[in-house]
């Protein structure tokens, strides 16, 4: 390769797109490191505190797309207090000051402000794509800046963010000359939507492929929108509350029939039960279906829709579908790759919607299944063993039994054997979440067999430090480990400090680790940020000279090349 001029090598590198592969290329030799540096287009930073914007710009001066992730995963479940961090402002400011030609920004679990969005919209002439997932801190005013100032905007994709909706006119801020929109997703906005502005925007966007509406867009508007965008591939229905056979309903049905490119359907945020039947004509082409927000649609209507969806690859649904419904999925959706079954009754009121039977049926009927997230009331080892035998191809296996510590409901045994079977059979397993009654034994199995495991979520499981040690010693590819309410302590935490340099992060909350243990860890590993999060007393632990034996409520540690972060709030103590 070194006989070729740099431009040729660079051209070859263009074909290498995965971050892992590009990182590997850059390690081959100095020459390749340099070429790769200047040609890297997409940069992915899994933890915004692992590196600084300045160092990013020094290494990759020419990138066009940046992906940043902020808060740890358990922030999704309110375990990280408000104000912890993940601010994108310093990044936007640094990028704006530099000459980088940013075109795409993808943020997950970060705090974004209207000022930041305004700065972003004004600083990058070719900015095309903004994707915000689970972010917070901004309002529709920020969206208005993006709409007004980004002349070549292609994607505005807002997924499950907390956005302050000022019921403003952000949609009308898109200039009449803007015809480039490909993705428009504002399903998470709670307020009124300017329907006229929306319809005009859609009508002048011939490249529009993905449109996801919020609940303020009613049925008749949906009908008009679909009539002007028959090329749509991905549709998120907002509100669907109307009488069956009304004029709007009929218009909608007519419009839907023309949408021959429609492959993905979601939304139904407020939906009358009968509405799904309007979509039956397009079901045979659907590859992705997300009905997990349609709490008001009865299982029987869901089933009637799914019976037509023979090409489905991805299905997100509520457990109101029931085991019977999952059996229908299993016999209909032979192409299914990813399934998520979410709980409707969050307090486990005894209403057994889906059980181990549904999971077994799916595993038996869907040979291509590789990713599953399954919330249920009960499970057995026998069922998990069967699932493992039926589906050795799992890459992601996340099982959440709603009641903590719940054993096999037939034998009353822990579920160690069941999960053991899963990790033993699924040689490509990268992500695993365990639940139910579990002893150290399950972690022995995980450490022994889950050789490709990168992310593990543990809650209310294990007996002793041995459990955590099995995992740390065995899973060589572990990147993210998150543990809550499990009896693992300092011995496990401190056994192999160097392990944490090979991982992105470790989260431990309501475990047995002590302040003394964390301090020892921080001393031994200066390349780690060891954060103690203690919102209850604003970390007066330090001032009050708490004993080292004091248990730490929340510990979050991560490798970093830039040392202690400067934006930590008072309740975060970085050792």
């Amino acid at each position: 390769m070194n006989y070729f001029p740099d431009e040729v090598i660079e051209h070859v590198f263009d074909f290498v797109t995965s971050h892992k592969d590009r990182n590997s290329i850059s390690l081959v030799c100095k020459s390749w490191f340099k070429i790769e540096r200047y040609s890297r287009q997409n940069v992915f930073i899994g933890n915004c505190y692992s590196i600084s914007p300045e160092r990013l710009l020094r290494r990759f001066p020419c990138f066009k797309s940046l992906t940043l992730k902020g808060k740890p995963h358990f922030a999704d479940f309110n375990l990280v207090p408000h104000g912890w961090g993940g601010f994108v402002q310093p990044w936007i400011e640094a990028l704006a000051r530099s000459r980088v030609g940013l075109e795409e920004l993808r943020l997950k679990r970060m705090v974004v402000t209207d000022e930041g969005l305004e700065l972003l919209s004004r600083s990058f002439v070719n900015f095309k794509s903004l994707v915000l997932v689970s972010c917070e801190g901004f309002s529709t005013d920020g969206l208005a800046s993006i709409a007004s100032n980004c002349r070549h905007l292609r994607d505005l994709d807002l997924q499950e963010n907390e956005i302050d909706d000022h019921r403003g006119q952000w949609l009308s801020c898109f200039p009449e000359t803007c015809t480039s929109v490909v993705t428009l997703n504002f399903a998470c906005l709670e307020g009124e939507t300017n329907l006229v502005a929306l319809e005009r925007l859609v009508a002048r966007s011939p490249n529009l492929r993905s449109l996801k509406l919020n609940r303020a867009v009613p049925l008749d508007a949906l009908a008009r929108l679909m009539a002007c965008a028959p090329q749509i591939v991905d549709l998120g229905v907002g509100s669907y509350e109307d009488e069956q056979d009304s004029e709007s309903c009929l218009k909608l049905q007519a419009a839907i029939r023309k949408c021959t490119s429609l492959r993905s359907l979601s939304g139904f945020l407020e939906a009358a039960p009968h509405c799904l039947s309007a979509f039956h004509p397009v079901c045979h082409n659907l590859t992705s279906l997300n009905l997990s927000y349609a709490a008001e649609i009865h299982g029987s209507h869901l089933i009637k829709l799914i019976e037509h969806c023979k090409k489905l690859q991805r299905l997100w649904i509520l457990d109101s579908i029931g085991d019977k419904g999952l059996e229908v999925v299993a016999s209909t959706c032979k192409e299914l790759q990813e399934l998520r079954v979410f709980p409707t009754d969050l307090h486990g009121g005894g209403n057994t919607a889906v059980t181990e039977d549904g999971l077994v049926a799916i595993s038996a009927g869907c040979p291509k299944l590789h990713s599953i997230l399954y919330f249920c009331q009960q499970m057995t080892n026998a069922a998990l063993i069967t699932v493992a035998r039926n589906c050795p191809n799992f890459i992601r296996f996340r099982l959440c039994i709603l009641e903590p510590h719940k054993p096999d409901h037939v034998t009353s045994q822990p579920l160690d054997e069941g999960f053991g079977a899963i990790v033993q059979a699924c040689k490509n397993l990268k992500r695993l979440s365990v639940s139910g009654l579990l002893t150290d034994q399950v972690f022995l199995y995980i450490g022994m067999f889950a050789t490709q495991l990168e992310m593990l979520s543990i809650a209310f499981a294990g007996d002793t430090d041995k459990g955590m040690l099995y995992v740390l010693n065995g899973c060589k590819k572990m990147r993210k480990l998150e543990i809550r309410d499990s009896p693992f302590g300092d011995a496990a935490l401190l056994a192999d400090v160097n392990k944490y340099e090979t991982m992105r992060s470790l989260w431990m909350s309501s475990c047995e680790v002590t302040l003394g243990g964390c301090k020892r860890l921080a001393r031994k590993a200066p390349w780690l940020n060891v954060e103690i999060i203690n919102e209850n007393d604003n970390n007066r632990m330090e001032e009050n000279g708490y004993e080292g034996r004091q248990k730490v409520d929340k510990l979050y540690l991560y490798r970093t090349v830039v040392g202690t972060r400067v934006d930590a709030p008072p309740f975060v103590w970085i050792l």
Partner: protein, 172 residues
């Protein structure tokens, strides 16, 4: 009135008494974030539970995003009609903890008294029968399903009285 929780069995639920289901129950809700006891419950008395125990709420459990929790919360305002009344009312089902509170509120709203409920015979004695339309469009008797399930399945309420109610009464 506090109730005893012994080995997760809710003894109050197994008491025999006349009265609406769910009345007199106090739902305990505590935010708990702690290491749960690891005493394993291998004993078979776990399987003898006749009713699910009231769950104390654990912070961040189950692991469902708050965005999703908020979205799937029950739309709880329902219309209430009473036979012979000139206009309908609307009530928020989420504000009631059990059937007895709901019925008391309805009694106040429409100025009537309702009879005693029994599983076998419905509401006897007053000629007034509370019914509701469920998600499938069927008209059901209020009180048959556990209170927890009621708000999510009830689309509207209708208080039947007069001849309709009497016919129901005598048919049972």
């Amino acid at each position: 009135m506090a109730y005893e929780k012994v080995n997760e069995l809710n003894l109050k639920d197994t008491e025999l008494r006349l009265g609406l289901p769910g009345s007199g129950q106090v739902k305990e809700e505590q935010e708990v974030s702690c290491v749960r006891s690891n005493k394993r419950q291998h004993q078979s008395d776990n399987e003898e539970e006749s009713t699910p125990p009231t769950k104390t709420q654990i912070v961040g459990w189950p692991p469902v995003r708050s965005y999703r929790k908020n979205n799937n919360s029950v739309v709880s305002y329902v219309k209430v009609s009473m036979d012979g009344a000139p206009y309908l009312r609307k009530i928020d089902l989420k504000t009631y903890k059990n059937y007895s509170e709901l019925l008391k509120e309805l009694e106040n709203m429409f100025k009537f008294t309702i009879g005693e409920y029994s599983e076998r015979e419905g509401y006897r004695g007053s000629g007034v029968v509370p019914t509701y339309e469920d998600k499938d469009g069927d008209w059901m008797l209020v009180g048959d399903v556990p209170w927890d399930m009621f708000p999510s399945s009830c689309k509207r309420l209708r208080i039947m009285k007069g001849s309709d109610a009497l016919a129901l009464d005598s048919a049972l």
